[in-house]
């Protein structure tokens, strides 16, 4: 019954916002014009000209400290993972046959990084759930979720991610973080309900608490 209804849905959905013919010439003309303006502004700027007001408007919301902290955190995690999972170079070159082997991984180091990430995620999700009744934090929550999502992705993609239970937890966590990352600034209560459902149905929060050993604290407050 569900399958038949899904087929019916798919058929009907093909007519959802049915696109007209692509206005390719019209769009191309505007792309060319816009790019020419951008080039002109760039050359004026490099020639010591005044920065156009339109460009400066983007800087109104620029928060250098937050941006720098975010980039530094992401870089540190990325570099850390790279160092921890790739073996150090040896003085003698490896024989050619070794090249086809899978890279060696430092699973102990991976576990440390994963525990830290799970601990931060647990702290974040606990705070997020507690803050649901006090609207206004959605933008911050969404930004934090995006940062955690990036780390989550790195951990999932690491060759050291061999433990099936941890992988499953990271995959479920990714779904919840992706939903929070996509929250609009004024989310509808149904969106929030859905996230709560996701948290509860998969037992993500309780599994996170089980996965994080006692005493492992989130060294950097997630929210």
């Amino acid at each position: 019954m569900d399958d038949r209804f899904d087929d019916l849905l798919r058929d009907a959905a093909r007519e959802y916002n049915q696109p007209p013919e692509t206005p390719r010439e019209e769009m191309w003309a505007r792309i060319v014009a816009e790019r020419a303006t951008e080039e002109k502004e760039k050359s004026e700027k490099s020639a010591g000209g005044v920065i156009p007001i339109r460009r400066l408007q983007h800087l109104r919301h620029f928060r250098p400290l937050a941006l720098a902290a975010g980039i530094a955190a992401l870089l540190a995690i990325g570099i850390g993972l790279g160092r921890l999972t790739v073996p150090p170079p040896t003085s003698t070159p490896a024989p050619a046959a070794v090249a086809s082997e899978t890279p060696r991984v430092n699973s102990a180091a991976y576990r440390v990084v994963t525990t830290e990430h799970l601990s931060q995620s647990e702290a974040f999700l606990t705070l997020f759930r507690a803050s649901l009744r006090q609207p206004g934090n959605e933008r911050l929550a969404s930004a934090t979720a995006r940062q955690l999502l990036a780390t989550n992705r790195l951990l999932l993609d690491s060759p050291a991610a061999t433990d099936a239970r941890t992988r499953l937890l990271l995959q479920d966590l990714e779904l919840v973080l992706a939903e929070i990352a996509q929250l609009s600034p004024q989310p509808r209560s149904r969106d929030l309900e859905l996230i709560t459902e996701g948290l509860e149905q998969g037992g993500v929060l309780s599994r996170l608490r089980t996965a994080v050993p006692a005493g492992a604290s989130a060294t950097q407050g997630a929210l």
Binding site: F5, N17, M27, W28, L194
Partner: protein
């Protein structure tokens, strides 16, 4: 040559041609820019229009997608197909544009008389297609993107994952939930 080998060969050749085309665009060849645009504009426009549901907005978001793509083409590392990379820019531009628009609409409505804000939808009627359109409009952005990309435009979960920056498994789970929401919204049709 087996069919599989033939397809692999074809993919490899088109990747090589794509790299050559990108090289020409980066070298400043305007003909190459147009060739690249012509090769991808239909797919981008279709996706953007499905999400935006409005011609003017779809044109704006498609243009923005290509402007960004051309200015960041040097950063394209070729890990995914160029079409997937363009799709990720398109979906990001579109979702951001729609969010801004919704915020503006909500502010305006709040100033007027506090009427509820619909997205770009027609009033509900008993017809399945318009009820479905309304239900799709009401999906959260992430679910709507996955549903439109997969069930309407035929993207694979791998492509959707790359475009939205999530794992293919997450895309599958979001599609599952989106369909469940639609089934729930159209439950009376399911009974018939």
């Amino acid at each position: 040559m087996s069919e599989l080998q033939f397809l692999d060969d074809l993919t490899l050749r088109s990747r090589v041609e794509e790299r050559e085309l990108i090289g020409r665009v980066l070298a400043g060849d305007p003909t190459a820019e147009r060739t690249l645009y012509d090769a991808h504009v239909d797919r981008v426009f279709r996706l953007v229009y499905r999400m935006a549901g409005d011609l003017d907005r779809a044109q704006d978001y498609t243009q923005e997608t290509f402007i960004r793509a051309f200015s960041r083409l040097a950063e394209f590392r070729g890990e995914a197909a160029l079409s997937t990379w363009l799709g990720s820019i398109a979906i990001s531009v579109t979702l951001n544009g729609l969010r801004k628009l919704r915020r503006r609409n909500e502010r305006e409505v709040a100033l007027e008389d506090g009427m509820p804000v619909g997205r770009f939808s027609s009033p509900a009627d008993p017809d399945l297609k318009s009820r479905l359109a309304q239900a799709i409009d009401d999906l959260p952005d992430g679910y709507r993107a996955v549903f439109v990309m997969h069930d309407v435009e035929g993207y694979t979960h791998e492509e959707i994952g790359t475009s939205l920056g999530v794992h293919p498994g997450t895309s599958k789970a979001q599609l599952f939930r989106a369909r469940a929401r639609l089934r729930e919204a159209l439950a009376d049709f399911a009974k018939d």
